[in-house]
Symmetry: D2
Subunit: 334 residues, 4 copies
């Protein structure tokens, strides 16, 4: 069954709006950052990673965002372009804002943390009037990411993009991507996450992220089914709730449930798993695959990324994912 | 035909959320404020005025808002209570915020202006968690006012109130009440006005106010019909567009149009006309009157208020309005 | 003995820098402000009051300050000009700032309070580059007031004025005028009050105000003599410590002490006493009077002001003060 | 002749107050930062560098500052302690502030730039009440650095430290270290730089930095002698004006002038030259050397640092400096 219907004749497959930042990944791993001496620079930010992933998988992509007017901002734009992503709607900030930074610390494969620099971040300065209506109109799918809702005017820019997407029948996917910094309060978070989610066709998040959205709801038992059904009263077609290593569950508007397990991995760090999963899954949707096959594709992409040092740079091609799935199955047979 | 259906068994007729402030009206009129020497103090703010009007008309009312922890804040609470309005959900700010002020200047009956003090205003500090779900649940009608959307956290408190109103089947009226101060940009205004209006049953504003909401739309000719139809795609049952002295037009979801003229008035100042109109019209809706009769009631209330020195304090009773309408008709016959 | 030497040939006697605001005095006195209905508008702010007082006493005065670009700001400028004070260096703010307000509440002659509006106040926006060097150069005496030190850029404007005054041999008087609002912390207050006081010839404050300046000092016993001697190590010639009804003590650099008592008064409210005292005392200094005679003049002016409804508007002429002193002495004899 | 007299019996030679940050130096040099892939982490900030330099030269040092409550902050504290610098007055911020960052870009030995992250920097949060009086009291010399004056409350903390230094006869050195970011305006900069410099015994800056301080002065020809003489009217004993490759000139209160040339260097980058110079010169003063010998020592230290990849980590020992000077002289002879 097809849950999402895409306009076949649109020139762009995928456009994302939101955070563009720089990851500075510690080269010396398995130690606290106090003892880290050198860092390697990558493009980062959840929607950036997903878009890079989608482009690697072969889709025609564009990004709507804002970068600082400095070397970091130019590095981001150049990297996106080298990866075949249109940056015609990546605006340069003129207010002296900086690029958000994420220093990663990998104490062990399961003990990872991030030190964020998000004060005066350029991406949060995106204005609603800077979102180009004709670009959104040309896309089959729009991805919004929760961090872009954390602050004005980026928050309004996202709602503006949602407005255009609705107007032109663009399928909307929402990656909750909740990060506590930047938000003023848990209540503020719940209000805007709900206003945005009401308008989306696909909603993807962890159980903990959905709990944050349900701050004012009655779902004390944190039941996934209750979570999903709420959104089917609005625009949602598919709601995916991720449970880490336990795998994920997709609920569809027709009442069906679809479960996917994680692949066994040689984990370097946990960062980037969610982004790779989202890219892989949404790619499957665009290909017209079943929910189950798309979820498997997402899980495999996630597994590949967490076995590598970077997030964005490690996003796999469709062939890599396919090969990984086949290899995993062969090994399982053994 | 009945456009709005109210829950008959609710203990409250009307609850409003938003601005509570103090008007300081120049006693010496028909001169610039530089030459004004004394001022008289009144409770003000559009939703406050409407609620006072509704209470004078005999309805059971409550207010959801925030006041400063000083003499001005206590004056407001005492005045609301003296007018029979429940203040159980009027919270006292503890951050040192002040009561918003509006100094009025009446150079002539048609040349009036307001000098606003809105920095660090207590009413804009209302938190979403301070809106009491059980209070909203008990009301037949909720009124929201645009100025409360101008800033966080008051903005989120309004969306929270809308969420509760939807949950309990409370009819929602939206008085656009656009004031340029406080808002950061025209784009921001349009985004939040639209997000709120999507959820409302009755939307009331001037032609200019609807234009502001249509910043990202195609309605270059400013046609009222196009304006109204947009909202019938969402929740609206009735859309009223006010044209000043030319009267107002109400559009209903069934396609009907209803026009009301202004009554001839002995104008002292123009302030408060819109608030009195909204109170009068929404009173008629709660009474089960036709749109036409309700509009006439609103226009008469407006006419009474602009013939007086104050806004809130001049709100008429139902008998006063009735008498005014009858008298106007008798004089017309002459 | 002469403690202060003024340049005889300067065209201006007195220039003050700092706060220009509006007082809204309750017309209904001896009751809480919640029950006050009407207010009368006056120019206010300690340095404004002192300058108006000095002009009434017959001195050639100018003001360095900033007013809002609205009716309140224009009212202030017009009032100063009507009182013969040069406003050539009163700048109009263009950032949308408002005039600071002080609503006075007079519950009883000894129980008075003020409700302040100081957010986004125009006077605190005065830039150092807006202080005109040639104006300061032309004055015999410069008065600075502590409230102008509370925030940037007004704080820097005061230091700039001090720099010019030093450069041109202008006698500097410092009215501490401590008001807790606006200041970020008690420590910040102490730091800037001390930096400013180091450069002043005359320092006037209450015992409590000097205590605030001595936050980082060793004067646990709050001894006036220790307080005064500290400043004689810097620029001070005269230090006056006020003890309310107990009168005031002036310490001079030569080691002398001068005490002044208060006159018995028919007190309406306590506001304005300090401003009238400062105007009266500094007038005496400019006249070449002894410290004792100048203090008596200040005390008499203070007594006249607290017997009236306003502060600025009640500032007496030299004749009124003289008459008041003579009358008091006659009555004492009886 | 001895220009500065130090208290011989104090347990600390040198204490500095101000900026503590992290330098991220591009490992790939001679290219724009857009093409830089990896960075190496060092402790940075002018007063931190000078203190590290002073400690390497063998002096007993302490630091007064504030660091972020994260891995970066802990890295700084650990590095200072490893270098023998007392961190008993290095306070940990609890407001969520971050460590300031300086990404260096070395396009060529003469085309270097810095990309700063100074928003919400922990070092600028140092409170005046956090400066420990007994620590300042124990030092022979206090160094203040201009960047710490850029913002409250760090600005007040510096004035508080100056107050304590004056109280206990601590010699005060001022490294102007002007950085345009963080400052609100050029006028604000001039005001506070002057207020601080008035209290200092040694003032060190480039010609451009002194120009900034003279914004409100008459020195259109930018004459060093006029610059220096201004400060001899206050507390200064020595004023050093640096002219880059042209060398530097020291003016002393007795009217003498002392010139030092730069050593020829194999320049990697220009960063850190000023800090090494200041450390070297002030070390000479503490040793009781002549101005000329101290300047030579400073110039040699500067030359060593600019031939290395880092600033702080490259600070030389006294033996290294001595060897460098001797070697330079031998080569010159050839």
């Amino acid at each position: 069954m097809t849950y999402l219907s895409f306009h076949a004749d649109k020139p762009l497959d995928f456009v994302a709006i939101g955070r563009l930042c720089v990851d500075l990944n510690a080269n010396e791993i398995n130690r606290p950052m106090e003892e880290t001496v050198t860092f390697t620079k990558y493009v980062g930010g959840s929607p950036a990673n997903i878009t890079i992933g989608m482009s690697r998988l072969g889709k025609r992509c564009a990004f709507v965002g804002k970068v600082s007017d400095d070397q970091m901002g130019r590095f981001i734009v150049q990297y996106l372009e080298r990866n075949g992503i249109s940056t015609s709607n990546v605006v340069t900030d003129r207010t002296g804002a900086v690029t958000g930074l994420a220093f990663t610390e990998i104490k062990s494969p399961t003990d990872c943390s991030i030190l964020m620099y998000r004060d005066h971040a350029a991406d949060l300065n995106l204005q609603p009037g800077e979102v180009r209506e004709e670009l959104i109109a040309q896309a089959k799918m729009l991805l919004i990411s929760g961090t872009a809702l954390a602050k004005s005017p980026s928050r309004e820019a996202v709602f503006q993009a949602l407005h255009y997407a609705k107007k032109y029948g663009v399928v909307i996917a929402f990656d909750i991507d909740y990060r506590p910094y930047t938000w003023t309060s848990a209540e503020e978070t719940a209000v805007y996450y709900n206003l945005a989610a009401e308008k989306c066709d696909v909603i993807i998040g962890t159980r903990e992220e959905f709990d944050i959205m349900e701050r004012f709801e009655d779902n004390q038992a944190h039941l996934d089914r209750i979570t999903a059904d709420k959104w089917f009263d609005h625009s949602a077609q598919i709601v995916i709730i991720k449970h880490g290593k336990e795998g994920s569950i997709a609920y569809a508007r027709d009442g069906s449930e679809h479960r996917a397990r994680s692949f066994p991995a040689n984990v370097v760090k946990t960062f980037g798993a969610g982004d790779a999963y989202a890219a892989g899954f949404l790619y499957g949707m665009l290909q017209g695959w079943t929910i189950g096959k798309s979820m498997e594709h997402g899980s495999a992409a996630a597994c590949i990324v967490i076995s590598s040092h970077s997030c964005s740079d490690a996003m796999p091609t469709a062939e890599q994912v396919q090969r990984f799935i086949e290899q995993s199955k062969r090994e399982e047979v053994k």
